[in-house]
């Protein structure tokens, strides 16, 4: 098979991979923030729910979670198409790690910042959103960057529930052409490029958010 053809087939798979990342990442961030804040501030029963979510999705295999959502839930009358199942499983899985990132970053904001915001009589929600969160966000970016890259790599699991992502295309190409060197070389490169694009955006975001904080950001 011509190298150009291989690349074009893999490119289709890469687009599917990017689509999954583009949908699962916002879900993960949403889960991370909502459950991170619940974990910190909500009344006890809600906290327990948050802890259960975190420990369950962190403590079990992402692949098995994916299988559950796609293969097992239909037995309970819930049928979900492959793409939705992939986005859900990966978003919930990465989100569970993100929850701890959010919590840790908020707790890492110096106590003096809370005290100053109380002394200036900000309400509890103003304290969180105007004083604490802008500083915590900067702390969150590097670990969130790691998670985003983890997510990119974890998308290869979706090839096992019939989604034609990068890994799926690579395997089927390899099975038919046996040109494994070229194929998996290109696949590596594609994953790397996708991850690097994320890294680029994350650094931009970090530089932007850390304005005035005198830390973070990449200044070469």
């Amino acid at each position: 098979m011509e190298f150009g053809e291989i690349v074009s087939v893999l490119l289709q798979g890469a687009i599917v991979t990017i689509e999954i990342v583009a949908m699962a990442l916002p879900l993960a961030v949403m889960m991370a923030f909502s459950f991170g804040l619940i974990r910190l501030y909500a009344p006890a029963p809600f906290k327990q729910i948050a802890i259960f979510y975190i420990e369950f999705f962190r403590g079990t295999s992402a692949l098995i979670q994916l299988y559950w959502i796609y293969f097992v839930l239909p037995f309970f009358g819930i049928t979900i198409d492959a793409m939705t199942a992939a986005v859900m499983a990966l978003g919930l899985n990465i989100g569970s790690y993100g929850t701890e990132v959010v919590r840790g970053a908020i707790q890492a904001v110096p106590k003096g910042q809370y005290e100053a915001s109380i002394a200036l009589n900000f309400t509890a929600s103003q304290r969180l959103w105007r004083i604490i969160m802008p500083q915590a966000l900067v702390n969150m970016i590097p670990p969130f960057g790691n998670l985003a890259i983890e997510l990119v790599k974890a998308t290869s699991l979706v090839s096992l529930i019939t989604i034609g992502d990068l890994t799926f295309k690579a395997k089927s190409l390899a099975d038919t052409t046996l040109q494994v060197g070229e194929i998996f070389g290109v696949v590596l490169l594609f994953y790397f490029v996708i991850a690097q694009c994320l890294v680029f955006f994350i650094r931009r975001l970090e530089t932007h958010l850390s304005k005035g904080l005198g830390r973070g950001g990449i200044h070469s």
């Binding site: 110096p110 003096g112 910042q113 005290e115 100053a116 915001s117 109380i118 002394a119 200036l120 009589n121 900000f122 309400t123 509890a124 103003q126 105007r130 004083i131 802008p134 500083q135 900067v138 304005k211 005035g212 904080l213 005198g214």
Partner: protein, 259 residues
């Protein structure tokens, strides 16, 4: 005489098993400037932090401007204050911190305007005009658009003072505001307080290790030890003729043996 603007009645405060105040009584009159001196761990800062509602109390009552700080009336009884009551009470109080605690993600100007705008609902124009005046007062007009991290310690603390003043508190609490500064920066901060006191009436409660400053600025000096006022009186009396042995020992240690 009017009722005192601050009154502690039989206040008890513990941290775990450590008792800070057992049965603490204390009064401050309106427009009085009171310095609190004493060894570390004697409860000086805790006193200010309780007033600023950063620490609760374990017993007794505190009145600020005629109202109970940590309690509120409810169905004819006094019950622990809710957040709404505390919010209301904090309008009387402003605090300047030892470690400045400026908001690093905001410019100097926004550090000063944020609370008046968000908490008091003052318009941006008005808040900024007032911030400019305050920055002039603390000698930092040219730093309005800098971030706190660009400033020296002394400049940060002057912003800290301006930020507290922007809320127009009737009671200003200064918690060791020069303790974290290099010695050569102490005076620029103290000068701001000197000018402030000259220009306006303030009820001011300051915890300090700057004995000369306490002597110069205060109407009354309280020597604290082990969560109690060992001795209090006009600064001249405390600094030149202390009666209590513990006060003498403390001042000797601080000022050398020449006092």
């Amino acid at each position: 005489m009017n009722a005192p603007i601050i009154e502690f009645k039989n206040v008890k405060k513990c941290f775990g098993d450590t008792v800070i105040f057992r049965d603490f009584n204390f009064k401050v009159e309106e427009n009085e400037i009171v310095s609190i001196i004493g060894p570390s761990g004697s409860g000086k800062s805790t006193l200010l932090r309780i007033l600023m509602t950063l620490e609760g109390i374990d017993g007794g009552y505190i009145n600020v401007a005629g109202e109970s700080l940590w309690h509120m009336p409810w169905q004819g009884q006094y019950v622990p204050a809710n957040s709404k009551h505390l919010h209301k009470m904090r309008h009387h109080l402003g605090m300047v911190f030892q470690h400045f605690n400026l908001f690093p993600h905001m410019t100097v100007k926004r550090n000063i305007t944020e609370a008046p705008m968000r908490v008091k609902g003052i318009s941006r124009e008005e808040a900024e005009a007032s911030a400019e005046k305050l920055l002039k007062l603390v000698g930092l007009s040219d730093k309005a658009n800098n971030y706190p991290n660009d400033l020296s310690g002394g400049q940060k603390q002057r912003v800290g003072i301006a930020r507290a003043l922007a809320m127009k508190p009737s009671i200003l609490l200064l918690d060791e505001i020069t303790s974290a500064l290099d010695p050569e920066l102490v005076d620029e901060v103290l000068d701001v307080i000197r000018n402030l006191v000259k220009e306006d009436n303030f009820t001011m409660l300051l915890v300090t290790h700057e004995m000369y400053f306490a002597r110069e600025i205060s109407d009354r000096v309280c020597f604290f030890d082990n969560g109690a006022i060992v001795e209090e009186g006009p600064p001249e009396m405390i600094f030149t003729q202390p009666k209590e042995e513990r006060t003498k020992a403390f001042l000797n240690a601080y000022l050398g043996n020449n006092s």
